[in-house]
């Protein structure tokens, strides 16, 4: 079942070279539709009330090093699979792309499906790295200005992180002899933890570094603005929409359950880093004049909220064991996990949509500086209107999708670290300032000379924009259908952490 899902984009990538080059995007989209359909089937088959991994496939692979082919999904994996299936078609529709481009995108898609479903470290790591190479090539070959530098920085930085993570895992393997996530988690829960002494700290640091670079967490974020800026728009959408979620996924799946004791000790520092991510990234976004860079920085900011929620969980897990108000702490933990999951999904949609709109503006105008536009509202009211929805969603306006995740995250983190939360809330203010400033200089004022010939949304663009916006509203108003997917997983995980 899941293997087929992973294979579909790969087959698509091969099929691209069978078909005519002119049809590349159509073929890619067809395979995307197929994958999306398959993902929906997974959702349909998935039993939301079961706590265990579902649709598991287990095959012997390389027994000598403990590598197994083991895939399966729980609520979190399913959520991310759905997100991947949603973002990729969206990205394919965002720009023209030739055969090689489409093929690499499909390979990346396959790798992402693999990353989100693999349950054995070796397999997971394989997919994890497999997504990196197409991303690097896509930036390097089809990117904009500074693409060489950005691509190299992106690759080296994330790769270095991956190497650190691999070393960390090797340390674990030599100590405990398994790569299976579930077994590792059991080991970590039992008795005296997974590892002890210095080796535990080295493994923790290695894995933390790898994931923190991927997310990215302040101060490991500097590759991101360059990479997102240089990447072609479709790739930026995927990078922010899905790839950045791999790091968060890793934190939830690996770091938090495997190293509860270490996190307990460094918890306050991690919270501090998350708050720095939130505040500094939104401030830096304010100082940007390039729209793409601005959105990129806000991406860091939004992932900072995820990190805040996650570290709040671990801090809570640290103190909650003995606290008398354990039911309330359990609720907070549920809130944090749910909030983080929501935030992952919503940020994926919203940030991808923002990049999409920036891409539309850039296609029309040829430039994407914040000062290159003016008075667009008079010329392209529809574009402005729909784009504003995405912006308001991103700044956390209630009624749109962004708010729910942030609310739950802040609720839980406030319970643990009120002062950190109070500072983090500033991020909401700065985000609002950033977007309103952008809206002011793009949409309002007299129509700029250079924008005279800009066209409003075309029919095919509307076809893309409307469903996505409707989805934002749907999640914002009636989010239950998403919560439904991962509620059981949340409860299971919370049991794991406490």
């Amino acid at each position: 079942m899941i293997t087929v899902l992973i294979l579909i984009p790969l087959i698509g990538a091969i099929a691209l070279f069978v078909g005519r080059p002119a049809n590349a995007r159509t073929i890619a989209l067809t395979f995307n539709a197929l994958a999306a359909f398959y993902a929906l089937m997974l959702w349909q088959k998935f039993d939301v009330d079961l706590a265990a991994l579902q649709l598991v496939e287990r095959h012997v692979w390389i027994p000598s090093i403990g590598a197994e082919y083991l895939v399966g999904i729980d609520g979190l994996s399913l959520l991310l699979v759905l997100l991947t299936s949603l973002i990729f078609p969206f990205a394919f529709l965002a720009q023209k792309m030739d055969r090689g481009f489409s093929a690499l995108m499909l390979v990346m898609q396959s790798a992402l499906y693999g990353t989100f479903t693999a349950q054995n470290f070796i397999l997971w790591f394989l997919f994890y790295e497999m997504s990196l190479v197409p991303a690097f090539l896509l930036i390097k070959i089809w990117g904009g200005e500074n693409r060489d530098r950005a691509a190299t920085k992106f690759f080296l930085y994330t790769f270095l992180g991956s190497v650190a993570m691999l070393l960390g895992f090797l340390g674990i393997y030599f100590a405990r002899g398994t790569f299976d996530f579930a077994q590792l988690v059991d080991l970590a829960k039992s008795g005296n933890g997974l590892l002890s002494g210095k080796i535990a700290w080295f493994a923790f640091a290695g894995i933390f570094l790898g994931l923190a670079v991927k997310v990215p967490l302040f101060p490991f974020h500097t590759w991101l603005p360059d990479a997102y800026e240089a990447a072609p728009i479709g790739v930026s959408m995927v990078l922010t929409g899905v790839l950045s979620k791999m790091g968060v996924y890793g934190f939830i799946r690996l770091l938090l359950p495997l190293f509860p004791n270490e996190i307990k000790i460094v918890g306050p520092w991690l919270l501090g880093l998350a708050v720095c991510s939130i505040v500094f990234a939104s401030l830096a976004a304010w100082a940007q004049t390039d729209l793409k860079r601005m959105v990129a920085y806000l991406s860091i900011n939004h992932l900072g909220y995820c990190m805040l929620g996650l570290f709040a969980i671990s801090a809570r897990a640290a103190s909650g064991a003995t606290a008398p108000e354990s039911t309330s702490s359990l609720i907070d933990m549920h809130a944090a996990l749910s909030g983080v999951f929501m935030q992952i999904f919503n940020h994926g949609i919203t940030a991808a949509a923002l990049f999409y709109y920036v891409g539309l503006l850039e296609q029309r105008r040829g430039l994407r500086g914040i000062d290159d536009f003016g008075g667009l509202m008079q010329r392209t009211p529809l574009l402005c209107g729909w784009m504003s929805v995405a912006m308001f969603s991103s700044l956390g306006l209630p009624g749109l999708n962004g708010f729910i995740g942030e609310f739950l995250i802040f609720k839980s983190s406030f319970a643990v670290a009120a002062s950190f939360t109070a500072v983090a809330v500033l991020g909401l203010l700065f985000t609002a300032i950033v977007f309103l400033r952008a809206m002011q200089s793009l949409f309002s004022g007299p129509l700029a000379q250079s924008c005279n010939a800009l066209v409003d949304l075309t029919r095919s663009e509307k076809f893309v924009v409307v469903p996505v916006t409707l989805l934002m509203f749907a999640i914002g108003l009636a989010p239950q259908f998403l919560f439904h997917i991962f509620n059981t997983t949340v409860i299971t995980m919370a049991g794991l952490f406490s």
Binding site: F218, W286, I331, F410, L428, S444, P479, Q480, N487
Partner: protein, 665 residues
């Protein structure tokens, strides 16, 4: 069993919202349909509000609601809901009615605008959001609608988006109120953490009911103050009032809506709604949080009244008067006069809408001129506007007996006089009342009396579609004046959940005379100072305001809004901008620099190993190759090809071996 209206209360905001969405899908050509849909939506909402009002009359302290699950996270369900109680019902009536008048007025006022349909969509949305705030039975739902109110105000203030000043004002409004909202949000989260629920009333388990309040304990003060931050932002209290006057950049009906029925009322409403949190643990009705509310209110009220006295833009004067009146309401809430504050809010909604629409009519008549120094003599040119405006002005100033503002102001004065903590607010408010009467008189004299000046010479009365709402609002203002008499304080008791008794003696009480004296003093002061303005010649604009000639520095200080905007610009805004630039710089040079540093370390190592490679290893191999070649050359010289040489060498070797052997042996 709840009445039908309680379970379907959500329809009241939903219908204008639906109207708004359906209008948005129209193009600009279908103006009539758009206006019709908006107005029908509002009429339906008004009708339902009346329906909702009726059951609340049935018993004192009526309260019914309906809660539902929004979503569940983990095992916890997050519930929202709506509630119908006297506070909600009264606010619903006021909002729907005033909005309806404003909608009708807008048909005339905005007739020439090319984005007419969009305007009505936004108006409907605004009213829907505000109705949502009012019916919410959950602080979260209230917050959601609260933010939507902010969004609507952003859209409407920036409606003339081609004007950079309008766009800037809209941005300022949104951001300033959002600063307050951050506090509100933290308070909300804290309340949720402390009480475990965000529902106001939930059969004894809501956060405004005793059990949860007790659980809050000492944190209630902080929560209340954080929530109050939100109210400060939305209701334009000091120090976040700066957005309100700038919000005048929007079309006049929007100003009316913001200042009367919706936005600014939300803050006062919020404080009234969560009043149990504010008053938790009160000794003699005094808690630290309420004391803060009082003093913020006093500062705001006085400061705004002073500034209003020096402005020359007809709408700005009204804007500052709104700020000042809101301060008054806050004071009233703070000293414990919740009912008085809400009554003033309701009454203020009517007469401030009337004043704003009147000013809109004046602006319309004077061809978009807003400077009162260029008007004058409109009394004869725009009679309907004049009469209704005068009613509004007298209500705002608090002329007793026939105008609603008087009774409510008197109630507030009454409430403050009983505040145990200090009498200062009481007297400061009195000063505010005098100032209010004075600056409204000044405005009346400039606009309506004397001879027409430059802008008002060709003024004309507005079309009926604009004057009829004025008349309706004027009528209501007077009607409320009758309804609100202290002789039969049913609204007061209705809000407090008590049964009213008729008692004529309460009409005659010392406070009545005090407030009468204050109003007369204010109007008298205004007439005295601005008498000469009315008597001025035609064709002459006023060069100097009488106050300006008397106190030039003070006048300039107030005219420039105490330079608060400039102060903020130079402090907070500058600081945060610097912080933004700084973090960008840090990103570029420090964090990225570190990364680049690591990269350079790697490069350095590369250069080093390259050096080692070239200098040591490569060169070593080269050298040894050279050496070998030299040796070879040397050796090949020995290979002379002379066999006897070879043999000789062999022989020498053998002899050497022999000698060695002998020596060893």
């Amino acid at each position: 069993m709840n009445p039908w209206i309680v379970t379907n209360l959500w329809l009241i905001p939903a219908i204008p919202l639906a109207a708004s969405l359906s209008i948005l899908s129209f193009n600009n050509a279908r103006r009539k349909t758009a206006a019709a849909i908006a107005i029908v939506g509002q009429i339906v909402a008004l009708t339902m509000s009346i329906l909702a009002f009726l059951p609340t009359l049935s018993a004192p302290g009526f309260r019914a609601g309906h809660n539902f699950i929004w979503f569940t996270f983990g095992e916890q369900a997050l519930r929202l809901g709506w509630v119908l109680d006297p506070l909600t019902a009264a606010m619903l009536l006021m909002i729907t009615f005033v909005s309806l008048c404003i909608f009708v007025f807008s048909i005339g006022y905005m007739a020439a605008d090319k984005n007419f349909t969009r305007f009505f969509a936004y108006l409907s949305f605004f009213s829907a959001a505000m109705l949502g705030v009012v019916i919410a039975n959950s602080l979260l739902l209230l917050f959601v609608c609260w933010e939507l109110v902010g969004l609507a105000s952003y859209l409407l203030i920036g409606f003339w988006i081609h004007k950079p000043s309008a766009a800037a004002a809209a941005k300022k409004a949104f951001i300033t109120t959002r600063i307050g909202d951050l506090g509100f949000f933290l308070g909300l989260v804290w309340l949720y953490h402390g009480s475990g629920t965000l529902l106001f009333y939930d059969g004894g388990r809501g956060c405004l009911e005793n059990a949860a309040l007790l659980a809050l304990g000492g944190s209630a003060t902080s929560i209340a103050l954080l929530i109050f931050c939100g109210a400060v932002g939305k209701s334009g209290q000091f120090p976040l009032h700066v957005w309100l006057p700038d919000a005048m950049e929007g079309p006049t009906p929007v100003s009316a809506l913001i200042h009367a029925a919706t936005m600014v009322a939300a803050g006062v409403f919020l404080v009234a709604r969560v009043y149990p949190i504010f008053s938790l643990g009160a000794i003699n009705d005094v808690t630290p949080s309420l004391t803060v509310v009082v003093w913020i209110g006093v500062v705001t009220g006085l400061m705004a009244a002073l500034i209003a006295a020096t402005q020359s833009d007809i709408k700005r004067i009204l804007a500052y008067s709104t700020v000042s009146q809101l301060g008054l309401m806050m004071v009233s809430l703070g000293v414990g006069g919740v009912a008085a504050g809400i009554m003033h809010l309701l009454a203020h909604g009517f007469f401030k809408a009337l004043l704003f629409l009147g000013s809109g009519s004046v602006i319309h008549g004077c061809h978009d001129e807003q400077d009162i120094r260029k008007m004058g003599g409109l009394r004869r040119l725009m009679p309907v506007t004049f009469i209704t405006y005068a009613i509004g002005m007298m209500a705002l100033s608090g002329v007793p007996l026939f105008f609603c503002g008087a009774w409510t102001k008197e109630e507030i004065l009454h409430a403050t006089s009983h505040w145990p903590k200090s009498q200062a607010p009481h007297y400061l408010i009195m000063l505010g009342v005098v100032l209010t009467a004075a600056y409204m008189t000044r405005q009346m004299i400039y606009v309506f009396f004397g001879n027409p000046r430059a802008a008002s010479e060709h003024a004309h009365e507005s079309p009926p579609v604009m004057t009829r709402p004025l008349v309706a609002l004027g009528f209501c203002t007077i009607f409320l004046g009758v309804v609100l008499t202290p002789a039969w304080p049913w609204l007061h008791d209705y809000l407090n959940g008590e049964t009213a008794r008729f008692d004529l003696t309460r009409l005659i009480q010392p406070m009545l005379f005090v407030s009468l004296a204050l109003v007369i003093a204010g109007i008298g002061l205004g007439v005295l100072m601005y008498r000469r303005v009315a008597l001025q010649d035609r064709h002459r604009n006023v060069e100097l305001d009488p106050l300006e000639s008397a106190q030039p520095f003070l006048f300039r200080f107030l005219e420039n809004k105490m330079w608060l905007d400039e102060l903020y610009e130079e402090s907070f805004i500058l600081w945060s901008r610097t912080a933004a630039r700084l973090s960008d710089w840090m990103d570029h040079y420090v964090w990225d620099g570190l990364v680049r540093g690591f990269g350079s370390l790697g490069q350095l190592f590369g250069i080093f190993t390259k050096g080692v490679d070239e200098r040591a290893i490569n060169a070593g191999v080269d050298e040894s190759v050279g050496g070998a070649r030299g040796l070879g050359r040397l050796m090949s010289a020995a290979h002379s090809g002379q066999i006897q040489t070879y043999l000789g060498a062999v022989a020498i070797g053998m002899v050497a071996l022999l000698i060695l052997y002998a020596w060893l042996a």
